[in-house]
Amino acid sequence: MSHRMTFWSKVPAFYQAQLKLTMAAKKGLGDAVLAELVVLRASQLNKCAFCVDMHVTNLRAAGVEAQRIDLLPAWEEAGDLYSERERAALAFTEAVTVLTEGHVPDEVYERAAAQFDEAELAHLLAVIVAINNWNRVNVTVRQPPGAEL
């Protein structure tokens, strides 16, 4: 499983735009821990080792309890370990990420819309899109966990 290509330095304008997208999305959402939970869940679904490593590290550094990090792949069965706001965001993350297998069902959209105002929801969607971008590239080029971009 060797690194296929040093991608990001080959496309500096794309890298800068992707950084701007990520920052604008997170700033508009305004909840750093929620953003980290969402990006970790998307990275798990897309199986991006580099991204999982980075965002588990970020969650630990933010002081999030180990149990909330470890049980994230099973959040639906994890009782009240996650708030309804987090659960609505995680269901939304999964639907937006696994797009080739379906759409974003009305009940998932409405559950999220009940927890986030419209501007927050637009930025939550942008956080999910941005991490899907990082996931796609880093899986494709086999970015090694912990390596410099």
Partner: protein, 167 residues
């Protein structure tokens, strides 16, 4: 098909039960900085790539992600760029359409599918190697950027249920 001449204005199909259509939210207005960054991402991704190839990749990813708005836009753009009706019709079955797409296009389409359907697998060595053989490294980086970017537009389009043909 009775009203071929006015495909957007004249076609008012009844909404399927439980599946309301019309945009769920105006994301670009609600998140203008995000939209600006997406425009920058899009311009950076396309740089140096051939317009015909760009549209084939954009259409194929939009088919897999089932983004109606994106399909409408990119089939229109492809026609404007001179794409043939035959190739547009066969794109969803490109693997079986021997002789219609070049080896370079086929390598790009296989890579598009692998990168788009990421939750079902990885990007297999054979697919990556085929793309590496058809594109030099700088071009391959652009192609990966392009595939990533259309996936991003698809996610915004499908999630917010953008209406085909409406801005």
């Amino acid at each position: 098909m009775t009203n071929e001449t006015t495909p957007t204005a004249g076609h008012q199909a009844p909404a399927a039960a439980g599946h309301q259509h019309g945009p769920r939210m105006r994301w670009a207005k609600l998140a203008p900085e995000v939209y600006k960054a997406m425009i920058g991402l899009d311009a950076a991704a396309k740089k140096g790539l051939d317009a015909t190839l760009v549209e084939l990749v954009n259409i194929r990813a939009s088919q897999l992600n089932k983004c109606a708005f994106c399909l409408h836009m990119h089939t229109s753009d492809a026609r404007k760029a001179g794409e043939s009706e035959e190739r547009l019709a066969l794109l969803a079955a490109w693997e079986e359409a021997v002789g219609f797409f070049t080896d370079r296009e086929r390598a790009a389409l296989a890579l598009t599918e692998a990168i788009t359907v990421l939750t079902d697998g990885f990007v297999p060595d054979a697919v990556y190697a085929q793309a590496e053989a058809a594109f030099e490294e700088a071009e391959l980086a652009q192609l990966i950027a392009l595939i990533t970017t259309i996936n991003a537009w698809n996610r915004f389009g499908v999630t917010t249920r953008l209406v085909p043909g409406q801005v």
